[in-house]
Symmetry: none
Subunit: 413 residues, 2 copies
């Protein structure tokens, strides 16, 4: 028996007036999702806890069976890992933005005009030439991800994540000095390294040819790096070890890829998978079907549902759900469902009204040959709430799924 865990990012929602008080899921034409509900056992999930809006990182950790409240240590390290940066235990990682500052280090644009990937890549290359003083005993890796976004990893001995941000959070405010948040030699050292590095990076950016070209075109200078969210990689036991299975992840979003890598999953690259509404849904589905030959558990993550939610676009969200349904139709067609369990869920609710992650539960349906099929006939937030699984936490999903595969260890005799 094999398992597929499908996570549609932020797919769950609240009833919305523009959809006649239905949710996008309830409005969508989604025969495959409904088929999963019909042939499966359904329930609702609090990814973290009732009322608590999860991030995609904490929710995915939970859905993979980890206690996010205990093991989570910031987004930076996970995003860095997912972007291909080598992050070791003990490293300190920040999420960064290319930003524009004036002579007095006042932030005038937190995203340097949403700088294009190409410019950001060229600048990142220059930055990597910077050398830290040997006496600091550390080196760094800076990598841009999408547009103005980037990650910065500090590698060395005796570092600490107890650090404040340099990002003031708003325009019109001065770049902040990074301060130690605890009275330890480690925190003081790491703050010193970071402040030295920030000065150096600023100096290099000011004089970089890319910024000179940008000035000519009237584009904002990407002359500063803002850092926030110092973190490190969670120390967790790989899923493969916990359940003695091989695991793989089909996801485009760096953050989710990072979580999966932390959980010891193999990351599968899929051509055309972009993490946007225009992603190649069928290419992802094909990859899942292919990978299921080599792995016992394949995670399939789609980001597009969340994108439409953050844009407060219920129509687009409904359409994207229909595309997700098409993707699942391919999977259900090609996979032998007599020997496969498929769990369909979302990592969190994102409201098309607020454009924010919300703390409402998410629907879950698990289909497989031996599940206690219930009488839920449609996949949705309210229909699944009536299902045979009742209300569970995110952390319960993996044991329930692995229980169907006979992979959970008996406790007691």
């Amino acid at each position: 028996m094999k398992a597929i865990l499908v996570i549609a990012d932020g797919m769950a929602d609240r009833p919305v007036e523009r959809l006649r008080w239905k949710t996008p899921l309830e409005s969508a034409h989604k025969p495959s999702l409904d088929c999963i509900a019909k042939t499966g056992v359904c329930g609702i999930i609090d990814p973290i806890a009732p009322g608590i809006p999860p991030g995609s990182d904490t929710a995915t950790l939970a859905l993979l069976g980890y206690d996010a409240m205990k093991v989570y240590s910031g987004r930076g390290a996970l995003e860095a890992l997912g972007s291909g940066v080598k992050v070791s235990s003990g490293d300190v990682t920040f999420r960064c933005n290319f930003a524009t500052v004036d002579k007095n280090m006042i932030v005038t644009d937190r995203r340097a005009g949403r700088i294009a990937n190409e410019d950001a890549s060229r600048l990142a290359e220059s930055l990597q030439e910077v050398k830290l003083e040997k006496s600091l005993g550390a080196d760094f890796l800076f990598k841009n991800t999408i547009q103005h976004r980037a990650v910065l990893n500090i590698h060395g001995r005796g570092l600490s994540t107890a650090l404040s941000d340099s990002d003031p959070g708003d325009i019109g405010r001065k770049v902040l000095k990074i301060k130690p948040l605890e009275d330890s030699a480690e925190a003081r050292l790491t703050a010193k390294i970071m402040n030295r590095l920030m000065d150096e990076l600023h100096r290099v950016l000011q004089n970089d040819p890319v910024n000179k070209e940008r000035a000519k075109c009237g584009l904002p200078q990407a002359n500063m790096i803002l850092c926030r969210g110092a973190g490190t990689v969670p120390k967790i036991k790989p899923i493969s070890e916990k359940y003695a299975i091989r695991t793989a992840c089909v996801a485009a979003t760096p953050l989710v890829r990072g979580v999966c890598k932390t959980a010891g999953m193999d990351l599968i690259d899929v051509k055309g998978a972009t993490g946007t509404p225009e992603t190649d849904y069928v290419a992802k589905a094909k990859a899942v079907v292919q990978m299921l030959k080599r792995y016992e558990l394949v995670l399939l993550h789609v980001k597009a549902t969340d994108v439409a939610s953050h844009d407060c676009n219920p129509k687009l969200k409904t359409e994207i759900i229909e595309r997700v349904d098409g993707m699942l139709s391919y999977v259900l067609d090609k996979v032998d469902m007599n020997s496969t369990c498929l769990a369909m869920t979302a990592d969190h609710t994102t409201s098309v009204v607020t454009g924010q992650h919300e703390g409402d539960p998410v629907p879950l349906a698990i289909t497989g040959p031996y599940v206690r099929r219930d009488d839920v006939m449609e996949y949705g937030e309210r229909t699944c709430a009536k299902g045979g699984l009742g209300r569970l936490r995110g952390i319960d999903v993996m044991p329930v799924l692995m229980g169907q595969l006979g992979k959970t260890k008996q406790f007691g005799a």
Copy 2:
């Protein structure tokens, strides 16, 4: 008000093709079980946690209101207690097998040809003559239970359960020396005691007349004792103290009797109760009715449902459920249900397909004069999931039942 807690071992199941995708419970004719559901409030229970297959020991501990994850320390001590062996706090108890070894101590039969109870009893008597050196400061009690199964209890001061097994687990492998699993004087001492004792027991068994007779009949020699699962008794507060009630248990299985004894319950012996499908169901029901005059809480445990499950026999399991139903019919007839709460559940799911304990939840129905009766009309895994209790954990059942008796203490003012 009084309470009866009925636990049918491994009664819960998954839908199975041979029963037209019903579970054995759903296939059985069970008017009494249905009556309990109809007149009661229903729900589903994760004995330990969602997806985790419980043992009967950990699940029964949980259903009696204990945090099994915290208090459980191996099956051995519980089984010994349930077999009538005196086990004190600080003792170390092993589960044992009579086994057959060759000259080189290679195991050739892990069960000594499933040695008959009578031979095992006579050998156990000889073994009890062995004396440990005084300097070791410990004594032991060895007792055979059923066929090749036995328990061994070491009593003394400064002992430790941090010990490896001597049972190699498979035939064709050499008997293992017991090793300390931690660097402590206690673990080293206990390992030393055990290894000396194992040598002595082997010596006595080799020369025992019972084995000479067995050799003549061509039966495998029961010439070695294999030990595994060093444990001790959980230190828990008796139910009687927690709720200021008198408690009794009607169960035949040593393991369950041991758990009940640990929880401070009086063990009731019932003639004809065997822990097999041929047990005297009505005799057990009569005992419960009788005991309810003297006790506020009586636990009624039936093992047969689990036996049929492990044999992967859905038809037999369905029939046994019907016998359990007959037993309950007697109880419902004879007990004044205007002043009695009856909770009906299983300790875990055992699949007739896999023959294993599984992590799926179990049904629960509680009938009594003041429960919030719901609209569940049949007792089953899927019907109870729609009940008014929702989804609870095993540890919640006892407080819920005691709440109906007015025995739970108010928290706060």
